[in-house]
Amino acid sequence: MIAAFAYLIFNSTRNRLLSQLRRLRTPRYAVGFVLGLGYFWMVFGRHAVRAGARGDGSEAAASGAFASIAPVFILIVIAGIWMFGGDMSALAFTEAEVAMLLTAPVSRRTLVKYKLTQSQVIILINVVIWTFILRRGSGSLSGVLSAAAVWVMFTTLSLHRMGEALHRASRGEYRAAGQKRKWMAKVFAMVVGLMIFGAFVAVPLSAIGAPDGKNPLAFLRSILLFFESPGVRTVLYPFHLVIAPAFAPNASAWAVAMLPALGIVLLHLWWVLSSDAAFEEAAALASTERAKRIEAMRSRRMTAFDPETSAVNKTIALAPTGIPAIAVVWKNAIALRRTIKPGALLRLPILAFVVAALFGWKSGNPARSIAVTAFFLAMMLPLFGIQVLRNDLRSDMLHLPFLKSLPLAGADLVLAEIASGAVIMATAQFVLFAIAGIALMAAPGVTTIRADMLVAILSTLPLTLLALDGAICTIINGSAVLFPAWIRLGPSGPGGVEVMGQMMLSMAASLLAFVLMLLVPAALGGGAWFVLSATPGAAVAVACVLGSIALAAESYGLILALGSAFERAEPQQIT
């Protein structure tokens, strides 16, 4: 039986790699692969070589800090497993595995062994990546020793996850095990609570320096010292044992650290193999949960939306007659309402504003910090917003046969899809710019903006933003229509280095197209500014309006062309 499982794991892994290699025969993946590898080299490889060559100790210092923090991370991960118990992916099987393995004449223990062996494939991939990263600061340890140390760390975590999942599965069968889990959860909650209290409350707040102070990151050192204190080290001792080999300074220290770490792995293995849980039921449940989670993740959704259980929020009214293309905007608006929770979407900006206010308060000018943050977020919104708001042709091209059977001209449909994203982005950007403006006016020491300039900016900003975001959405939707094979259509897609490189390539091409689109509007706007510079308010207003009209005209021309291209597009082009 073990041979059959080994055969399954080996062949699945090999075939997956082969299919990825075969994909490289397609030019888009080949170019993407080269770019993706280049990116990895820029991020990790180049620095690793430099760190080895430099040997100035700065990387080693960073590694020391990481060694102090790593046990806390492991504590948080394990505590999360016990306290929330939401992740049963350690037991999750694919649909094919559920159908073929759970119905096969195989014992529970054999299935557990299969899952353990299968998890090693992912662990080994992670070991390669993390060994590469960790060795940047630990040149004295050989690659093999580093890899073994990282393997111990990941295997311990993996076994712990599976052990907890099996215990949870047995809760229904054995009440005592369930009680034990609750007890463990309380212990972990207490330890984590103490760590958080110690690190963020007991460490004096005064250590948090202002961003423009001499040492803005002084508070981080204070937190590190807290984690290094004897009491905390004692509490975190088991976690230090797990990570100790990875941060050993030399081979002999590694050997000494490895013995207790391996002991912990063996203890976990015994724990997992000796558990007698309702494995099949738990595995089936975990598989369902995993399928939903993966679907949500691939959909880039802010919440794990489940069509079977989630309440359908209120609809938006739509009259049965009128401009037909409005129906497409309506559809996309409803999709957005159901896929994005405003709370989740606002979390990041709110956090950014809180941090800005905190640092601003320390430097004595919170309004200026908030203004800078709002301005920064507004500028960055098109870049990231376009990735979140995929309620356009990037999703709908997968419904091409349906869309093409509708009585809509191609240009009307493309325009509706573009408007769906552009209006939302422009509105969000306007709000952020308004926050920036208000905060800036409230900030001390900022020169007051002239009234005519203020009126000019406020009156033309919506049009300008709509033109800019419309142009961005036109480019993005245009790439979905013209080069459907080169961009990710729909919520999910294949992964890999080549896909990442492909995304980088399409981003660069989009950026270039946007810059080219801006040339004429910028020239017109600049010309207007030059001519009317004696009256700055009028100059700003005319420059913005002229530039926006020119950009909108360019976008409209492109939309007409894209409409024709959409009408010529055929389902077999969507791969």
Binding site: V312, T315, P320, A335, P401, K404, P571
Partner: protein
């Protein structure tokens, strides 16, 4: 209502549909049959304006599907074998969406009637993800029928339906044809074709093997007289069971 002339569809050098012609008048039901990869789906997609013919013309009513696609599509409904539904629109919202696209002024009245006819009334606020395969197919059918099309194009319309749904769908197709709708139906269920279709179009390797009423075909092929449609089909399409590339030609 439907006039197809010399329709040819090429995928690169591969000829999926090879110069076929046929007419479907009001009230007629044309059965498009052929083995896997014969070119049925390509033909239907060209008829529905989803794909552009490489050569030839397709007219829906008085409108050419290539030169006047919007007007032509307003008259037709295409119901594919695999329902294309939007993940985040409920059953009712799908129908409202379609109503707006086709300008169905009496949608408020038509939607409940259709939902009742297709037994979807209690699924009004349900998203497609929570519908069974058959329910999804029923919703796709409801979307197709909402605007009372004068041309109905159906690609394996019974896929996924339960026995009651199959009976209801057969009845619906027959009723629509009686009301004057021109229907083109592709199916491997030869008993359905035999029961509903007034004319047959048998495709093999993208080419027309036979076209006409069952009696006309038998008159041209006297050696097949007295045999069932299944026997006729298997004889006429012999040695062509393997699917051709590209997919779903």
């Amino acid at each position: 209502m439907i006039a197809v002339r010399e329709l040819t569809k090429l995928y690169g050098s591969f000829k999926a549909v090879d110069s076929i012609s046929f007419d479907v008048g009001p009230g007629e039901v044309l059965g498009l049959v052929g083995p896997n990869g014969a070119g049925k789906t390509s033909t239907l997609r060209c008829l529905a304006g989803i794909m552009r013919p490489s050569r030839g013309t397709v007219s829906i009513g008085r409108h050419d599907i290539q030169s006047d696609p919007v007007a032509a599509k307003r008259e037709l409904a295409f119901i594919p074998d695999e329902p294309h539904l939007f993940d985040y629109l409920t059953v009712q919202e799908h129908l409202r969406f379609i109503a707006r696209l086709y300008g169905v002024a009496d949608a408020e009245q038509r939607i409940p009637e259709l939902l009742a006819e297709l037994e979807l009334t209690d699924k009004l606020e349900t998203l497609p993800g929570a519908l069974s395969r058959g329910m999804k197919q029923k919703l796709a059918i409801a979307c197709g029928l909402l605007h009372n099309p004068s041309v109905l194009i159906l690609d394996e319309p019974l896929t996924g339906l339960d026995p009651a749904g199959i009976r209801k769908m057969r009845q619906t197709i027959a009723d629509r044809a009686r009301a004057g709708t021109a229907v083109v139906l592709s199916s491997h269920l030869l008993n359905l074709v035999e029961e509903l279709c007034t004319k047959l179009f048998i495709l093999r390797r993208g080419q027309c093997v036979e076209y006409g009423t069952f009696d006309e075909i038998l008159a041209r092929r006297p050696e097949l007289a007295g045999r069932s449609l299944e026997d006729v089909f298997l004889t006429l399409t012999a040695d062509d069971d393997t699917p051709r590339s590209p997919d779903r030609a």
